[in-house]
Symmetry: C2
Subunit: 156 residues, 2 copies
């Protein structure tokens, strides 16, 4: 691993949307799903406003020392009855900018999310990662996650 | 498969909590996680109040012709930026009472959740199922779900 880059994790703002969508699109799976245009499709802004209003959703970015957005992650706090009424944290859309990988940025973001989930009373953090993302699976196992589940999806 | 039992899917009420927790506990994995006492631990009621206040969370039960609760499922509608700002539906805590299995009740509940997710603008429904629940995985594949992801969990 190269030297670790310390990043600041903060809530995403409207003017981060372009950087976040660029990271989502710069990916073998995401590339086919996103639309990079200038201006970006309105649907991204609408979704941002919706998730920003939801107190259980934390869309955060990692900012490097120069203020550039180099990573993103979304954490949802989900109440539920199982496990004696424990909330769960769901981590989604974890991305690190290509030129900044292997510097511990993903780890800092995921550790932030785990700590935030615990602070919000969660007893469990869960996530789905595509079966082809073998490096991601190894990364999460190194952070203590167990490959305990199968993730099933139905796309419309 | 035995004859199909038609069930009504409706939002869970406070007086359904006992029946739901009994189904969550009546399971090799859930049995170790739940606490069946009379009265039930307050944490279940607190969680119910929290999820009932969240407009993006639908905890539903399946009710048979005699008004008995024979199944449960939780659907969360999760906004996000990826896939052009599409919301996702997350299905959790699907259970059918043991004496009512193989009658199509799980399928009616999951089809309800998929339809509700679509009606709420989702382009994707996702779920995690424990790797040992081979029958559940086959069930979801039969309903059109793909085993596309690995589900990772971190329990505190």
């Amino acid at each position: 691993m190269s030297a670790v880059s310390e990043v600041a994790i903060r809530r995403a703002r409207r003017d981060d949307i372009g950087a976040i969508v660029a990271m989502l699109a710069d990916d073998p799976l995401g590339g086919a799903r996103e639309r990079i245009e200038d201006p970006l499709p309105q649907s991204y802004y609408t979704a941002f406003e919706t998730l920003q209003r939801d107190p259980n959703i934390f869309l955060v970015v990692a900012e490097d020392g120069e203020g550039a957005v180099v990573g993103c992650l979304q954490l949802c706090i989900l109440p539920g009855l199982s496990s004696q009424g424990a909330s769960r944290g769901l981590i989604e859309d974890v991305r690190v900018a290509k030129h900044c990988r292997s510097r511990g940025i993903g780890e800092q973001m995921v550790q932030w999310a785990v700590a935030e989930a615990r602070a919000n009373g969660c007893k469990l953090v869960e996530l789905l990662t595509h079966h082809t993302r073998v490096d991601a699976q190894r990364f999460y196992e190194r952070l203590g996650f167990a490959r305990s589940h199968v993730g099933l999806t139905l796309r419309f």
